[in-house]
């Protein structure tokens, strides 16, 4: 059985000095060779593994004949953000995990093929989309991350008048402020947003719902509302020294770097501290992104401090491998207990404790237990907390009757409808921090629900 095509990449020693994309994408020849491995199963498991149910064998079949235009059309029937998904979806846990080829050899690289089709179309010029007749119904989309963008595009395609509200000055949510340029170039996000605008959607940036307009006001002005406000409130550990100068939330660090382009300071006006010894606390994709960004900003040593072992790291394996190749130090089974203060209330190190794994906890992962007497100090001048986020309550200010859980997530039924009629929600605002594609799946579901609701 033929072996999967490897993706060409920038060599580690080169890429740690720039913010350009790490993975370079398949050549046309590679794309066809990889596509030819697909067995086009009668009952394709891969489609079941995709939260937006892309017709995977369908688009790969077109690719085999070199018909990339047709392939992207098939993808876009269900997915408006293919260039994004092809780069940041955890395919190995979704479509690719269920690929029959994976049983004997390696699964087909569905994500890389999707990326190829999207990039190919973008280079050739994106076709204008077909939109349904106007329905005369108005829908508000609050938040323009993956959930909001997906809901907006499906609703615009259905002919509704869609207005997207974004609190930051650029649409894209986490795709813009969170995921670094070297993993997802911002130009690509911008083009995917522009495509949604071509569908007729309107975009208002710098528009904070909950402040400039309440949800109640939106409900009066629009026939339906979708809340895709994400989980943007950063969590901290609550340990001593957490407010010292040099302690960042991953959100702040990444927002400065990605959205505000602090890595190009002083050409861009937003500053960022470029540490010598940087510690990133956490083991998810956000932690990897923060660590690799800090390295590119010129740190001498960047460490990931994670309280469980390598096996439990929640980040994508590909990103962990990329980080290791780049020289990020992994201090596993280690947990910070306090941040040490140096001159001028600045960070001067982190006291950590060794951990060992006990019995599984509620999450099914083995519970880390501190090893008594194993405290030790790691040098640090920058500490980045990447231990998760929770939904931001600002949207609920001035809204009556929206049911939320004690954790601040919005309660919805299986169709994505909230306790308020005509108001749907989806993505991290409902589930808590999760993946781009699951948010897109929720956006899609909500769009269907809103469509049904508006056609009543």
């Amino acid at each position: 059985m033929s072996i999967t095509q490897e993706m060409p990449e920038q060599p580690a020693e080169v890429r740690i000095h720039n913010f350009e994309e790490v993975a370079l994408g398949y050549t046309e020849e590679q794309a066809i060779l990889e596509a030819e491995r697909c067995l086009e199963c009668k009952k394709p498991k891969c489609v079941e593994g995709c939260p937006v149910n892309i017709d995977i064998p369908g688009f790969i079949s077109s690719m085999k004949e070199g018909n990339f235009g047709e392939a992207i059309d098939v993808i876009k029937r269900t997915n408006t953000l293919p260039a994004v998904c092809g780069r940041v979806c955890p395919q190995e846990e979704q479509c690719e995990q269920l690929c029959i080829l994976g049983k004997k050899s390696e699964p087909i690289s569905i994500g890389r093929l999707e990326r190829f089709c999207a990039d190919r179309e973008r280079e050739a010029g994106v076709k204008d989309p077909v939109v349904a007749e106007p329905t005369g119904k108005k829908v508000a989309i609050v938040g323009t991350g993956p959930a909001g963008l997906t809901a907006a595009s499906d609703l615009a395609k259905a002919g509704h008048s869609v207005t997207m509200f974004e609190a930051l000055h650029e649409a894209g949510g986490v795709l813009i402020y969170g995921i670094p340029e070297f993993r997802l170039p911002k130009a690509i996000v911008k083009e995917e947003v522009e495509y949604i605008m071509k569908l007729g959607a309107e975009l208002k940036v710098g528009y904070v719902i909950g402040r400039i307009k309440t949800l109640d006001q939106l409900e009066k002005e629009f026939d339906a509302v979708f809340l895709g406000t994400g989980a943007g409130l950063p969590k901290f550990m609550g340990i001593e020294g957490e407010n010292l100068n040099g302690v960042y939330s991953a959100n702040e660090f990444l927002t400065r770097v990605n959205l505000m382009k602090a890595y190009r300071f002083p050409e861009y006006d937003t500053p960022i501290k470029r540490g010598s010894n940087v510690i990133v606390v956490g083991g998810g994709n956000v932690a990897m992104d923060a660590a690799r960004s800090a390295l590119r900003l010129g740190a001498d040593e960047v460490s990931i401090v994670y309280r469980r072992s390598d096996e439990e790291l929640p980040a994508r394996r590909e990103e962990i491998e990329h980080a290791k190749e780049e020289g990020i130090v992994f201090r596993l089974l280690t947990n910070p207990v306090r941040i040490l203060e140096g001159e001028n209330m600045a960070v001067n190190g982190v006291e950590c404790i060794k951990m060992e794994l006990g019995e599984p906890d509620d999450s099914g992962r083995r519970r880390p237990v501190a090893v008594e007497g194993s405290e030790h100090v790691i040098d640090a001048d920058i500490v980045i907390m990447a231990i998760g986020t929770s939904p931001n309550p600002i949207i609920f200010d001035g809204s009556k009757g929206l049911e939320v859980t004690p954790w601040g997530t919005i309660v919805v039924n299986e169709a994505g409808m909230t306790s308020l009629e005509g108001v749907c929600a989806g993505g991290d605002a409902v589930t808590g921090a999760a993946t781009v594609i699951s948010a897109m799946g929720a956006g899609k579901q909500a769009a269907e629900t809103i469509n049904d609701y508006l056609s009543k």
């Binding site: 528009y207 307009k213 943007g232 927002t255 006006d269 500053p271």
Partner: protein, 283 residues
């Protein structure tokens, strides 16, 4: 989106007033709230307190002092120019209620954000005594406006060129020692001034409110950069504030965090002075 500057004037050296066309922001604005603006694509996002707003005419007034690169660049802009972003209103509105006699203390550009509060407190029937201060008479802003909005206005200047020779805190103490019952003090200005006011009012058991201005990026609770310590708890000034009870505020932490990018700010200012001629608006 672009936000037009419809009026700009210098109030005193280095302090400017701007009216920005932003009807939706004006319609939602309340005293105590702030906006975040960005001049252009390369610009940083800076928070500024709302000094006034006109719902009918659809504009918001900001008053700022030239400090770093961005405020200096802003000062070079003129009526008709446009800002790239003008986000707001952000933060919680002040809790303006009828409580009796309120002392409003404004220092330097801090007089700007107390002006809408003076109007609002007085409108609902409070007695408003305002104490405004500056280093010198020629740096004092909004004196006439404050007189119109207050029952009484006291002035302090560091050099004695106008009013009381000394700090606003002296006048606060005099009032507290006087016969009149003071029900609340609101102090807005440099952190060092707010800390001093907090110190003066502390023994008197008078509710004292300050407005904090830490470094922030998004202003919606997302970055956590504006962390402040309030009564031992970490709060985000952008969503939990910007106003807090003065006695709970860790001013040392606030001041230390405000100085975080001092070196970068100096570098940016130096950098922007090089290479540009006088016509350039970046300085």
């Amino acid at each position: 989106m672009a936000y037009k500057i419809i009026e700009k004037r210098q109030l005193v050296p280095d302090v400017h007033l701007m009216n920005i066309e932003a009807p939706d922001v004006a319609a939602a604005a309340k005293p105590g709230q702030f906006i975040i603006l960005r001049i252009d694509e390369e610009g940083e996002r800076i928070p500024l307190t709302i000094a006034d707003y006109d719902v009918d005419k659809g504009f918001v007034t900001i008053i700022f002092q030239e400090m770093g690169k961005t405020t200096k660049q802003l000062a070079k802009m003129a009526s008709g120019d446009e800002l790239q972003d003008f986000v707001g209103p952000l933060g919680k509105a002040s809790e303006i209620e009828k409580i009796g006699t309120v002392v409003l203390v404004g220092g330097g550009v801090g007089i700007a954000p107390i002006y809408p509060q003076a109007k609002a407190y007085r409108e609902i029937g409070n007695k408003v005594i305002s104490i405004i201060g500056a280093r010198s008479e020629n740096l004092l802003i909004l004196e006439d406006e404050m007189k119109a909005a207050s029952d009484e206005v006291l002035v302090a200047t560091d050099d004695g060129s106008k009013g009381h020779h000394g700090f606003v805190t002296d006048l606060v103490k005099e009032l507290l020692d006087g016969d009149e019952k003071i029900d609340r003090v609101v102090a807005i200005g440099p952190p060092i001034m707010m800390r001093a006011v907090a110190g003066v009012t502390d023994p008197y058991d008078v509710e004292t409110i300050v407005s904090l201005n830490p470094i922030m990026v998004d202003g919606t609770g997302m970055c956590g950069g504006c962390r402040v310590n309030i009564g031992g708890e970490t709060k985000f000034a952008c969503v939990d504030g910007p106003e807090f009870n003065a006695k709970d505020v860790d001013f040392n932490l606030l001041m230390s965090r405000l100085s975080l990018y001092r070196k970068e700010e100096m570098d940016a200012l130096e950098g922007s002075k090089k290479g540009c001629g006088d016509e350039c608006k970046c300085q």
